[in-house]
């Protein structure tokens, strides 16, 4: 396993074409791994009739809402939770928030 709960990660700013499961608004953003959800066939390959193997680790990652939206007006500690596959994540050395 590459990441563990508590690790700070950055979502890759990839512009991979085709079917992807990582929403645009998360790309390049940093968050915190909350939990490891398990290994699943890669839906980006399944979408084209491929096997989706090897399976990819899926993480629940949380992001500070204020890191995602410039005009966020809610409480500063509000977080957004998203399921992100490992190949979309890279380690971030910053301080865990």
């Amino acid at each position: 396993m590459t990441f563990e709960p508590g690790n700070r990660v950055r979502v890759r700013a990839s512009e991979k074409p085709g079917h992807v499961r990582t929403p645009e608004y998360l790309r390049g953003k940093t968050g915190r791994v909350e939990s490891v959800l398990g290994e699943f066939p890669n839906p980006e390959d399944l979408a084209y009739g491929l096997s989706g193997r090897p399976e990819r680790l899926l993480y629940k990652v949380s992001f500070r809402q204020t890191d995602l939206w410039n005009d966020y007006e809610g409480p500063g500690d509000d977080r957004l939770y998203a399921d992100v596959y490992e190949h979309w994540l890279e380690p971030d050395e910053g301080e865990t928030t």
Partner: protein, 100 residues
């Protein structure tokens, strides 16, 4: 560049929240899609990919997208041709309108 379906966080104006009674063709669209899944002909992942790649995505209603994506997959897999689907659709339309 985000796909046409990937709208999170973008300003899209007010949302049309009006509802309508489910129509028979919408039930059929749902049933056909699920039947094809159960028969192992297509998968939800493939259907999503086909939906997202529809050129006229924004002009279509929810189940119109489903039907168009299902057609795209059936043609892509060589199970039906567009011509066969169009001919059959025209036949059903004629029958429905009672002109035959």
């Amino acid at each position: 560049m985000a796909g046409v379906h990937d709208l999170g966080g973008s300003s899209g104006g007010p949302i049309d929240r009006s509802q309508h009674e489910t129509e028979d063709w919408e039930r059929l669209a749902d049933a056909i899609t699920i039947a094809l899944d159960k028969k192992g002909i297509k998968t939800t992942d493939q259907h999503r990919r086909a939906l997202e790649s529809l050129d006229n995505y924004r002009e279509l209603a929810y189940y119109e997208r489903w039907v168009a994506a299902t057609e795209k997959l059936l043609v892509e897999k060589g199970i039906l041709t567009s011509k066969e689907i169009d001919q059959r659709s025209a036949e059903v339309a004629r029958r429905w309108s009672g002109t035959r």
